[in-house]
């Protein structure tokens, strides 16, 4: 703990004990408690390091006139202090503990009515209960009864905390008894134990007497659970709900003897509750059963009671509840085969009914009948179908022998459902009028459409469904063409199309008609009146370009965009038109889609076209003109993609592409680093990083990524050392970096007011420094070895960021008081066109040595400052304590009082 803080703490305690009204804001107490918790977790004993706390607690507890929030804070603090056995003993000896947690004390003071006292009491106890002594204290004081009462407290928070606490108590008891009874715990098999369980603690001396106490606690709690599980009135459903939550918590965490006991106690009540058929309780009940079941599964022996409950659950009468239960079961993952098969059947039943496809060979007539009746109601029909569809992926994940039908048939059913949704009954094979009544409920429901499309996406990976590709494509194109499709439905249709393309890479079954329809529809949707649709379309065009497929005609691998839409010649004009879109999201998507579309040609090193030149000009225009950040960010990312595709390419970069790329990168760097949007600037720095990497990868000292983050013992791959250190190389590369504007971009980033930008720039500059003029070389060495490098200069114009840099250099120079020539104007014969232009223009543009700048800017110190979060000062405990003191002094001296406005957010 900070010494400064410790020194302030007594005074803070005084303030708090005196009055609670003068706190700077209502979060201070929480913050204080957080800090104490942190300190305790770090292994420091609170009582030892701050003895004043004991005094504080005892004084506050006696003063019931204090603000309830302070009292609640004290309750919780006491629990925290007493978390170690030693401190607990001290507190108990000073008889503080008895009073703090004495219910009667609070009730008599009339404070128990305040929920914050109640929750303080629960949480204090909960924190404290980490050792047997505390448990003993809990048992002896007979806190169980009030705790059980608090379960149904008016305040939801109190009730929930009481729930947690009860679970904690039971689990504590379990550990204690198991230590006692088993002596040696079967560590190997103990899988179900949660990591937070306190069974790891050692309990050396447990008497038989205490053990009896614990057994009594366990019995009392389970009795209570059993008793209050089944509601006597409808209004008591809330209570049952709470108990079920607790039970689920317990069954998932407890182990053999206790688990057995709990289950034995509650099984009948749960059964009774099930039979009562409360729809609101279906999911919580399922949670309980599944918690028991999954715990059971670990033991690899199926408990008959659990299995019976589960079977009952999967046979409830109410169709809506039944579907909920089946879905909950499948979502849980680990299952047994019988119940999985049953759940799958339940979930497929509505699909079977609506589509009339024989998914399930046999179904109980009664079940079918009640399901049909339920489906005739529009609202419940839609919600039930949606639950079924959302869970179809789970169904297909199950073993094939559990499935009532092959996945292909499920795909067929989903497709058929989608057709029904758009009002197409031609393919529907259901003829009965009741089925028709049901299917009319889903006509035009975009909710069902969305769920069905999601199911279709998920089903794409199932075995044997590839044969459905032509049908899927036809349907999706119809959906895309349908004027009444909701934008989100269109979006999902696009996603599904891309997904099926990427999974079924063999497109031989796609006909020319499909292609033509898709072309038509994509063109139309790119002119849609809703921007969301245009955006999805443009995005789709990009995504499709990223999917590689095989066209069987020549066994040739190409991207799906080429295979389906004829590639760039179709997509590029559409995307270029989208660059003019009034909606910035669409423009941004168009730019990234262009990058994806052109990526292939970059990688193949195709010759540069006139069109590409125009696109680049257009993009540069966007970067400098566009009013929205999204589009500008996308432009920078476009160049990053282009540049990285070039550098990832193994053969030497094709000239044609470079001739356009490098000049444009130069303008991207200069425009991007002057952007107002910090994300654009960060992306620009990423571009700069790529260039750095390209220039220096393999150079001594160059480490890709953040130098401070690399592990000191990390093995550096040999390939990085293949290029030998060559001074001339370095000079050449550095010169070109200066010319491309990388160095200026980095320097301007360094002084940027946005921290992420400055941080990134700082790290990159440090990387650069390591390569160009490592600090590890002495100044003399450096001058000797790197005389050439030192001559490389860059410009520092007299305005903006450069002025900042110059100021920093000047301060540094003054501080150092050395006769070094930092900041001195260097004659620049070779500092590039821009410099000469500036010189000829009359205004002298001073040039400085890059090396000198890198060495003189205190990059390490700056990195240190930047890494800290901007509010590190305000968030420190010291500042918190000071705030509390200041607020109280302001409060006590009203004449000098200033209004302290604290914004918590």
């Amino acid at each position: 703990m900070d010494r400064e803080c410790v020194s302030l703490l007594p005074r803070v305690c005084e303030v708090l004990a005196a009055s609670g009204s003068s706190l700077p804001d209502d979060t201070s107490l929480e913050k204080l408690l957080d800090w104490f918790t942190e300190v305790t977790k770090a292994g420091t004993s609170l009582l030892e390091s701050c003895p004043c706390l004991l005094e504080f607690i005892s004084s506050v507890v006696h003063n019931t006139t204090l603000d309830p929030s302070i009292l609640s804070f004290t309750l919780r603090l006491s629990g925290l202090v007493a978390v170690t056995e030693d401190a607990f003993t001290v507190l108990q000896q000073s008889s503080v503990l008895d009073l703090v947690f004495n219910l009667q004390h609070w009730q008599e003071a009339g404070l128990w009515e305040d929920p914050c006292i109640r929750i303080g009491w629960i949480q204090g106890l909960r924190t404290m209960m980490q050792h047997p002594k505390a448990l003993g204290f809990f048992v002896q004081a007979d806190f169980l009864k009030p705790l059980l009462q608090l379960q149904t407290d008016k305040s939801l928070f109190v009730a929930s905390a009481a729930n947690q606490m009860l679970a904690h108590v039971l689990l504590s008891c379990q550990s204690v008894s198991s230590v006692e009874s088993n002596g040696v715990d079967e560590e190997g098999e103990d899988v179900g134990r949660s990591s937070g369980s306190i069974a790891d603690l050692e309990y050396p001396a447990i008497t038989v007497e205490t053990n009896q106490d614990y057994a009594a606690v366990v019995t009392a709690i389970s009795e209570c659970l059993k008793k209050s599980l089944v509601p006597r009135k409808n209004s008591q459903l809330h209570q049952s709900l709470q108990i079920l939550k607790l039970l689920a918590l317990l069954l998932a965490q407890t182990r053999a003897p206790l688990w057995e006991k709990l289950l034995q106690m509650v099984a009948d009540s749960v059964y009774e509750l099930l039979a009562a058929g409360y729809s609101q309780l279906v999911l919580p009940l399922m949670d309980v059963i599944l918690a028991a079941h999954s715990c059971d599964a670990n033991r690899r022996v199926t408990d008959q009671r659990v299995s019976r409950l589960l079977s009952f659950m999967l046979n409830i009468r109410k169709p809506a509840d039944l579907i909920q239960a089946a879905a909950a079961f499948l979502r849980r993952g680990r299952h047994d085969l019988v119940h999985t098969a049953q759940s799958a059947r339940v979930l497929l039943l509505p699909l079977d009914i609506i589509t009339g496809l024989n998914l399930l060979t046999t179904t109980a007539d009664e079940q079918q009948f009640s399901m049909v009746e339920q489906l005739k109601n529009k609202t419940s029909c839609i919600s039930m179908i949606c639950v079924c569809l959302t869970n179809t992926p789970q169904i297909t994940l199950t073993a094939a022998d559990c499935l009532p039908c092959p996945p292909v048939l499920i795909v067929t059913a989903v497709l058929s459902l989608l057709r029904l949704c758009s009002g197409d009954f031609s393919s529907s094979s259901s003829s009965s009028s009741s089925c028709r009544d049901v299917s009319r409920n889903i006509i035009g429901s975009s909710k069902v459409q969305k769920c069905a499309l999601e199911a279709l996406i998920a089903l794409s990976g199932s075995p044997g469904v590839e044969v459905k590709l032509p049908e899927v494509v036809t349907l999706l194109v119809q959906y895309l063409d349908n004027p009444h499709s909701d934008p989100t439905v269109l979006h999902k249709s696009y996603q599904a199309l891309v997904r099926w393309m990427s999974v079924c890479s063999d497109l031989s079954s796609i006909t020319d008609q499909h292609r033509q329809d898709l072309l038509q529809v994509a063109t139309k949707r790119s002119c849609d009146i809703r921007w969301e649709v245009r955006d999805s379309t443009v995005e789709f065009l990009g995504r499709l370009a990223g999917v590689s497929v095989v066209q069987t005609t020549a066994e040739e691998v190409s991207d799906a965009s080429v295979a389906l839409l004829g590639g760039c010649c179709f997509t590029t004009p559409l995307l270029r038109a989208a660059l003019q879109d009034p909606e910035s999201y669409v423009r941004a998507s168009a730019i990234s889609a262009l990058a994806q579309t052109l990526a292939a040609s970059w990688q193949q090193g195709a010759a540069l076209t006139q069109e590409h030149t125009e696109i680049v000009n257009q993009l540069l225009e966007v970067l400098s003109r566009d009013t929205e950040g999204f589009a500008r960010r996308a432009v920078v990312r476009y160049f990053i993609a282009w540049l990285s595709s070039r550098s990832s390419h193994s053969s030497p970069p094709p000239l044609a592409s470079s001739s356009l790329l490098m000049p444009s990168v130069r303008s991207v760097l200069s425009r991007g680093s002057a952007d107002l949007d910090w994300e654009v600037k960060v992306h620009t720095l990423e571009l700069a990083e790529l260039l750095l990497h390209e220039a220096f990868s393999g150079q001594r000292g160059y480490m890709k990524g953040n130098p401070t983050q690399t592990h000191p013992y990390a093995v550096i791959p040999d390939t990085l050392h293949t290029r030998t250190h060559n001074e001339e190389d370095v000079v050449g590369e550095l010169n070109s970096l200066v010319q491309w504007g990388v160095v200026s971009a980095l320097l301007s980033g360094l002084v940027d007011c946005d921290r992420p930008v400055a941080l990134r720039a700082c790290r990159l500059l440090m990387t650069l420094r390591e390569v160009v003029c490592p600090l590890s070389l002495g100044a003399l060495d450096a001058t000797a070895a790197m005389a050439m490098v030192a001559k490389v200069t860059c410009e520092l114009p007299g305005c903006g960021w450069a002025r900042e840099i110059r100021k920093m250099l000047a301060t540094k120079a003054k501080d150092a008081e050395r006769g070094c020539s930092v900041g001195e104007v260097v004659d620049c014969d070779d500092c590039g066109e821009a410099g000469q232009e500036a010189a000829s223009g009359g205004g002298q543009t001073p040039c400085v040595s890059v090396c000198e700048v890198l060495r003189s800017l205190d990059l390490d110190e700056r990195l240190d400052v930047l890494t800290r979060s901007s509010d590190h000062v305000h968030n420190s405990p010291f500042s918190l304590l000071q705030d509390i003191l200041t607020a109280s002094s302001a409060h006590s001296q009203p004449d000098t009082q200033q209004e302290v406005i604290v914004d918590c957010y």
Binding site: R440, I443, P483, K524, C527, D528, R530, P582, E583
Partner: protein
């Protein structure tokens, strides 16, 4: 009450309601689909069209859906619901001996006039040297080729009316405003309600004192330009006649509008022209409004929009001045003051230009690619014919159908083979089945009458049970030429009592809150108003020496027997009987009252709720005594 159904076309209704001695025609829509049987009327001679095989250019005639179901001259009034449903007006008012009045709102009249003018103009500017009618003969028609042979009721097809007939017909129109009450011969009151479909479109309430009939025709719940639909006034109707639902139940107007815009943008971007065959009023206002917002986002800022119609100017101008008939949003603009429709701005900025025809100014300013709005949607006459000839050969161009009245494939038939792209996005804002069932749930009429097409799913989509009206009790369907007896009887009639007669009445209370008086009077009925007047006293016979004239006997004034009310209390009656020496009475309880058996006298007295019978053979004195005893317990009026 009877309903005569003269039209089988659900959106172009023509019904006649006979209600309380009035004969009311509800709309007179003109089904013009028969024009599709004719060749297009080009402005310039088209060698291609004239050489089409099996087609012979004939006189421009128009179908008229009428049968001799009833004598049209007996019609008292015609109520018009919107300007599309009045196109047959000249046929009815001019050649049938019609002498009544036509009621319509002002926009309906003005825009209806424009539409008629447009049709007449389209027809008259390509005059026919000769006209032929012999082919209407059934024998000859049989020999005609192809679809013509199968055309039904060819003999009812009529020549297009002239401007003179239009003017004469429209002169019979009397203007009404929403909720204005118009008395028809004192028998019924009719009043128009906003129906939300088009400018000035209305539903009608026809009511007497005790009956209410609602006529719902062409209504819309969408928020387009017209004033929203008045639903609450339709409540408590005995009969609701429902016509003019959407013709495109599966095409939602929003989706179609989106489709329209994206196809338009797509064509323009590819360098093609867009042709929109449409009526010169109605949906075009919404299309222009939608485009106004879309132009910027689709970067169509420089593309010219042309609206060509003989009445283009008037239509655009009229829409701006009927502020009181517009939706609230547009009405408020007028107070700013701003034009309610944004097409004013399009015109100002020269993005939208309108011309009366393709001659003159238009030809000098015509620039491609462009968007042209022009009529007629049937593609058989009007300037659209010219553009079809001009643009049909290029696949860059697109024709977008927005009016649902004509089958677009039939409309395009004489222009095939066609290279130009064709897009069908019918925009019909009228009520769909979902909306209508909600509406009916709200207004709860006792009976619904509708065309039979609405009671079953469309033929092409027989599974779509959501595309029909499902009501409890089921609606009464009608088809062309059917005569329906509307299922309610007249039970009550309002009668007035003159003050002096009322003064003479002496009401007596028979049970709390109910008083009764007898009255003798003469009913005087005039103009469907009934008045009770006191019976005139017989004029004193003048002591005249003149020759005694034969005078009508004055009605013999007979004092009517007093009316009885009340009930005979059993106990008290028995006591009275005993007083009169009748002791042996056996009382038997029946469903309606009691039977008293006077055993000694061998007489029965049946006391029932609404009558007392004394059965007593051959003992008149006893009967009279018993009668008087019964009468003692009853009140006399």
């Amino acid at each position: 009450m009877k309903l005569y159904c003269l039209s089988g076309h659900p959106t172009l209704p023509c019904n006649v309601l006979k209600f309380k001695s009035t004969t009311i025609m509800l709309d007179c829509g003109l089904d013009t689909t028969s024009v599709l049987n004719f060749l297009p009327l080009p402005l310039v001679h088209s060698p291609r069209l004239s050489k089409l095989p099996g087609w012979v250019s004939k006189d421009g005639t128009i179908n008229l859906e009428k049968r001799e179901l009833l004598d049209l001259s007996t019609i008292d009034v015609i109520l018009i619901s919107n300007y599309h449903c009045m196109m047959a007006l000249p046929y009815i008012t001019e050649h049938t001996g019609f002498t009544g009045t036509v009621y319509a709102t002002e926009p309906t009249l003005q825009i209806g006039r424009l539409l008629m003018e447009e049709v007449v103009n389209f027809m008259e500017r390509v005059p026919k040297a000769q006209s032929a009618t012999c082919w209407k003969n059934k024998e000859i028609q049989r020999m005609l080729p192809g679809p013509l042979k199968d055309a039904v009721d060819v003999w009812t097809w009529k020549r297009c009316y002239s401007m003179q007939e239009v003017n004469s017909a429209l002169s019979k129109v009397q203007l009404v405003g929403y909720s204005q009450k118009v008395e028809l011969f004192g028998a019924v009151q009719v009043s128009p309600l906003s129906s939300g479909y088009s400018l000035g479109s209305s539903n009608w309430i026809i009511q007497s004192h005790h009956e209410k009939v609602s006529y719902v025709s062409g209504s819309s719940l969408l928020t387009t330009h017209p004033q929203p639909m008045d639903q609450s006034s339709l409540k408590n109707s005995d009969v609701l006649i429902l016509t003019g639902l959407t013709q495109m139940p599966t095409a939602n107007p929003d989706g179609m509008l989106g489709e329209f815009c994206s196809n338009l943008a797509m064509t323009i971007r590819a360098g093609g022209n867009v042709l929109v065959p449409c009526y010169s009023s109605g949906v075009i206002y919404d299309l222009l409004e939608c485009l106004y917002q879309f132009i910027e986002s689709a970067s169509l800022g420089t593309t010219p929009f042309y609206f060509i119609s003989p009445v283009a100017n008037s239509s655009l101008e009229f829409s701006q001045i009927f502020a009181e008939w517009l939706c609230h949003n547009k009405q408020t603009k007028v107070y700013l003051p701003e034009p309610p429709f944004p097409h004013a701005e399009l015109i100002q900025t020269n993005k939208l230009k309108h011309y009366p025809s393709i001659h003159g100014d238009f030809s000098s300013e015509f620039r491609q690619p462009c968007v042209v709005f022009t009529g007629h949607p049937s593609l058989r006459f009007g300037d659209v014919v010219h553009f079809m000839e001009l643009w049909g050969k290029s696949s860059l161009n697109t024709i977008i159908f927005t009016e649902p009245d004509f089958s677009y494939l039939d409309a395009l038939a004489p222009y095939q083979p066609l290279a130009m792209k064709c897009v069908y996005c019918p925009i019909d804002t009228r009520l769909n089945f979902h909306q209508v069932s909600k509406l009916l749930k709200e207004v709860q009429p006792l009976h619904v009458v509708c065309p039979e097409q609405y009671t079953q799913p469309p033929l092409t989509q027989s599974h779509r049970s959501d595309l029909m009206l499902e009501l409890q009790p089921p609606p009464m369907p009608y088809r062309r030429c059917s005569v329906l007896n509307l299922p309610f009887r007249r039970r009550y009639e309002r009668v007035y009592i003159l003050p002096e007669l009322a003064n003479s009445l002496v009401p007596s209370e028979i049970k709390p809150g109910v008083s009764v008086a007898t009255v003798s009077a003469v009913v005087h009925s005039k103009d469907n108003k009934h008045t009770l007047q006191s019976v005139p006293k017989p004029p004193p016979v003048a002591p005249s020496k003149k020759r005694k004239r034969v005078m009508d006997e004055p009605p013999v004034v007979m004092t009517p027997k007093p009316l009885l009310s009340g009930a005979v209390p059993l106990e008290a009656f028995l006591a009275t009987l005993q007083k009169h020496g009748i002791t042996e009475v056996k009382v038997e309880e029946t469903a309606d009252g009691h039977i008293l058996h006077l055993q000694a006298e061998d007489t029965l007295i049946q006391l029932e709720e609404d009558g007392t019978h004394i059965v007593c053979d051959n003992n008149e004195p006893l009967r009279t005594t018993l009668r008087d005893l019964v009468l003692r317990f009853l009140q006399k009026l």
